[in-house]
Amino acid sequence: MNGQDDAPVVALTQAAKHFGPVRALDGVSLQVAPGDCLGLVGHNGAGKSTLVNLINGTFGPSSGTVDFPSGAGGVRSVFQELSLCPNLTVAENLRVSHPGLKGIGWRRAARAEIGATLDAIFPGHGIDPDAEIDRLSIAERQMVEIAIGFAPRGGRARLVILDEPTSSLDEGIARQLLAHVRGFCAAGGAVIFISHMLGEVFAVASRIVVLKDGRVVADRPAAEFTRAGLLDAMGHVATEAVAQQAARTVPGEVVIRTPEGLEARRGEVVGLSGLAGHGQAAALARLYLAQTSSWRAGRGARAVFVAGDRGRDGVLPLWSILRNVSISVLRRDARRGLVDRAAERRIAGDWRGRIGIRTEDVTNPILSLSGGNQQKVLFARALASDAPVVVMDDPMRGVDVGTKQDVYALIRAEAARGRTFLWYSTETEEVCQCDRVFVFRNGRISAELTGDGITEERILEASFEMQEAS
């Protein structure tokens, strides 16, 4: 038994993957042993997803090898895009992943197995195994997804790959997951943990691997890294001081006031915070939809929207970068109902420079860009219009650090020119940069913080308070 325990679960030797001219992975050698919790970090486009797909067998390497010395069973992946069937129940979804549940009475077995796994990872979860997925909240769906990844399913999970698993979870539930991962690895399982939340990576990883441009640039025990060193290795200038307090303009008159108490002044950057799924995104959507009409588009929009879920809310996939940018200003620049093509070319080219979209040609399809650059296009679309209010639905989710810094600077500059921003973010760091923060709890505003009062402690306090009492 001892010999098998030492053998790595998966070993990559000079594995590379090319998609035509694109070298997504350029010769990676890596081993994951039982008991390893590998933190995998890197900016967008560094090759993390490709590496995961090589390990879980979605495709094979173009060169090099991917070996599983003790068998390929028990390798599970939990992805960022949820892969549940929304029309089936929780237990039925387990059946899809576990063909072994056969015969009469499979439902009972499925219910028991998923219930037990959920209880083990997220005590007190309150999820009914017979509930249909599309009636669960996004956090609950993520929890089910994770549980299916760790469930025995007729065997044993030997290596679980978690790709941004806490992106839809709030702090308490995320902590339960991290605790479970630590326990799982201590008992001999292996985990590959991909996250842009460096705090979590440090909390859970025994080893950290840094990917950059398809290659491994660092592979050391976690204790040998510092935060700055990690950011450095990923290839961007680390900015420890996140909030740029300088040049905060004095805001003007009130431009937004909603019945639920959201308020914003001209030139202010207003943040929405609190535990994920407590009504912030819905409040923003309500606000935007109320300010705009689906029947009329006047010459000047009153508000613009920057989506966080690019695929669902933002990107127009068949179009070029140019058309994706100009869609919001077509009416304004139109001449007798026809599109002003010179104007839209000018605007797109202008914003490519200002916001730094990495492409040679704005008439390329938008899907040719990396995720972070697509996000920049969505920002350009919003900022190109004259709308005085910019509503942002967690637009930095899953975006690399470099892009983030560029956009923060842009937001500050635009605010200084009198634009108002309403910014829902699930990262406390970002929220702390705002001039004013509304903390949401259970669909309502529980606290309004301004200036120096915006601290992580006060935000957490306002998010959690009632829950501890009950």
Binding site: S293, D313, L318, G337
Partner: protein
């Protein structure tokens, strides 16, 4: 996209092939008549096909199943109002277009107010329109006014008048889609309705206009077809339902929405007529004709899909 890769080219190529195959039988005689017939009958398919294309561009799930009933209703009402009297052609046209507007508004009301999926809304509504047509017709076969009948069956520069109408409509539709703000809005809504709304596109107005447009196009087609055929039969629209969808897809528009192809619709309309007449010339009975028509439609879709996946 290079020239040969353009999807609409294939529809025109296929039409040319069918044309050639038919003429091969007669050693080239009758080319003029065949072309004329193809343009005449193809014009009606093209007109309804253009409308259906706009609806299909709106995105998956958007299709108008009430086109045949609309054609019948518009044709019946127009002919009834004109009563065969000379000089009433414009009044008849107005009635047909107004019928189209009414149908389009009713369809969209069902879709928007009652949240019915368009397939079901237009299907259910078409039954009502069919009944309306039956009731207003009362079995009488009213002829179109002589001037109008002459126009519908006449020609200018060797091209049938109805084909000129279809061509003009196609040009206007193309211009709208390629160059106008409304066209961009329609294409955006078809790619991702929610994203378009969040980007400031007035999506409900776009949807409403599209469903109005397809019904108006169908009304126009019904008006012209009734004048062409010498009367409005109650089943005049039956074959145009499947035809309208077929010419959109064969012409290269994406069934998933957000991508339309006007020249393709024209080529496909010609092709649909030519392939049937080709089979007729080769002596195929009704059974064989149907089987081969179906097989050809499927073969073209497979070819179009294979090409698309290579891009």
């Amino acid at each position: 996209m290079s020239g040969l890769a353009k999807p609409w080219l294939w529809a025109w190529l296929a039409a040319a092939l069918a044309f050639g195959a038919t003429l091969a039988l007669t050693s080239g005689r009758g080319a003029g008549e065949l072309a004329y017939a193809a343009m005449s009958f193809g014009a009606f398919a093209a007109i309804v096909g253009l409308g259906q294309m706009l609806v299909i561009t709106l995105g998956p799930g958007n299709v108008d199943l009430s086109i045949p009933a609309t054609m019948t209703l518009a044709g019946t009402l127009a002919l009834k109002v004109m009563g065969g009297e000379p000089g009433t052609a414009w009044i008849g046209l107005a009635v047909a277009l107004a019928a189209g507007l009414g149908v389009g508004a009713a369809n969209f009301a069902l879709i928007w107010l009652l949240r019915l999926p368009p397939i079901i809304a237009t299907l259910a509504a078409s039954l009502v329109y069919q009944s309306l047509a039956i009731w207003s017709n009362r079995g009488l076969r009213i002829k179109p006014p002589p001037g109008l009948a002459d126009f519908a069956t006449g020609r200018v520069l060797g091209v049938p008048n109805v084909a000129w109408v279809a061509l003009a409509l196609a040009a206007a539709t193309w211009l709208m889609l390629e160059r106008s703000v409304w066209g961009r809005w329609l294409l955006a809504s078809g790619q991702n309705l929610r994203a378009a709304r969040l980007a400031g596109v007035p999506v409900q107005a776009v949807r409403a206009a599209t469903y109005l447009a397809v019904a108006v196009f169908a009304g126009l087609a019904g008006y012209l077809l009734a004048s062409f055929s010498g009367g409005a039969a109650l089943n005049m629209g039956t074959e145009y339902l499947l035809m309208s969808i077929a010419v959109v897809v064969i012409g290269g528009s994406s069934i998933a929405g957000g991508n339309s192809n006007v020249p393709g619709v024209l080529g496909a309309a010609l092709f649909m007529f030519l392939v049937v007449s080709m089979l007729n010339s080769y002596g195929a009975g009704a059974g064989l004709r149907n089987v081969l028509t179906g097989a050809i439609i499927i073969a073209i879709v497979i070819a179009a899909s294979a090409r698309r996946s290579r891009q």
